[in-house]
Amino acid sequence: MSEKALGRGSQCPPLAPGTLRLYSMRFCPYAQRTRLALLHKNIEFETVNINLKQKPDWFRARNPIGLVPVLEFDDKIVYESNVCNEYLDNIYPTPKLIPTDFYRASRDKMLWETFGKVTELFYEIPKSVADGSLDKCIRRYERQLRRYESELSNRGEYFGGSSPCMVDFMIWPWFERIPVLTIIAPEAEIDPNKFPHLSSWMKLMMELPAVRETYEEPTSHVHFFSSLRAGNPDYDYGLK
């Protein structure tokens, strides 16, 4: 199946019965969460990339909110990255990425539900460089990162302990994009002196097959992000 992003006027590729399909976009961090879960669990699936600036009607019919990731399987449709990933963990429980212990599962969910406090700073930091409030922004960024550094120090090499769990995959996509931030704001680099556990964790994550398979080089992320800001997102950048 072609990796090129399908847009307005395109036909929806027919979906064979019993096949799991992911609607995605190659540079979307939210879709990457679900790709990571699928790959780490060795689930068979096919991908259809979507032109999110000119969405096909058939895509909006599946997700009226119009965002990726979306999972489709026979007559079942699931969207919202956290809902997709919890659903996959229920249907494909090997390996189990969300703890069966209710309290531990809650603590894990809290970690990814509150990660928005970090992701919003990825947008605010570049703005703060322009309006002179970078220092204040970086302090907020470091305060939020400290929550994760502290939690990780209590858990082990990964947030899942000796092996990755759902938390690791839910937060990874933004750590992959830090090199884009540091071009504009070098202060956003994860200092191993301030964040020793997160620094080691980042290196470990880069060795996971699922992470390597979804990884895009910083230059690709920068190119995509610039094209997005210029109003003409280059969804197919890097494809032959």
Partner: protein, 195 residues
């Protein structure tokens, strides 16, 4: 269970240090266990007290209910824009909120007396709090988005929810909500309205 109400504009240090560093409610605590984020609290309570199971066992139905809550987030976003955003954007926010509610007016017809079916379930309790505040909001910002009879299925749903014992036990009146929101807009939130 016991309830401790928090002064959210002057948060006690112990709340930030021991309970929730993000300083938000709800948070639940039992012995050394602490859970916050409302959706996570609800999931946790349903698992630990499964007597009257409110979340569907079927993983796909669970996912679809969660998706419906996410859709409702689009309604609540407009709701806060109307209440606390610039007044010149109020009418537009009300229009968008109404469009969002129309989806729910259609959805309730597919599901039954409640979004949970014949009985209220977690999905109903996740969305109810904003329905409870709609009449007060209409009065406060002078925009009608539900009381005009344009969504009869939702209006009937709201009446049914008002008869649910859990809703009756913890609801505030339209006057209470109006008084609270007025105090927030005046810059001095009165968290003790109704006491």
């Amino acid at each position: 269970n016991e309830v401790v109400n928090i002064h959210l504009s002057k948060k006690p240090e112990w709340f930030l240090e021991k309970i929730n560093p993000l300083g938000k409610v709800p948070a639940i605590q039992k012995d050394d266990k602490i859970v916050y984020e409302s959706a996570v609290c609800c999931d946790y309570l349903d698992q630990v007290y499964p007597g009257n199971k409110l979340i569907p066992d079927d993983p796909y139905q669970q996912a679809r209910d969660r998706i419906l809550v996410e859709h409702f987030g689009q309604v609540t976003t407009q709701y806060y824009k109307m209440l606390f955003g610039p007044s010149e954007n109020c009418a537009a926010a009300a229009e968008t909120l109404k469009k969002g509610l129309m989806e729910f007016d259609k959805e309730i017809q597919k599901r039954g007396d409640f979004f949970g079916g014949s009985e209220p379930r977690m999905i109903d309790f996740m969305v109810w709090p904003w329905f409870e505040r709609f009449h007060a909001t209409e009065k406060l910002v002078n925009q009608i988005f539900i009381s005009d009879g344009s969504m009869p299925n939702l209006t009937a749903y709201m009446d049914r929810m008002l008869s649910v014992p859990a809703v009756q036990k913890c609801r505030l009146s339209t006057e209470n909500h109006l008084e609270f929101y007025q105090s927030v807009k005046n810059g001095a939130p009165n968290y003790n309205v109704g006491l």
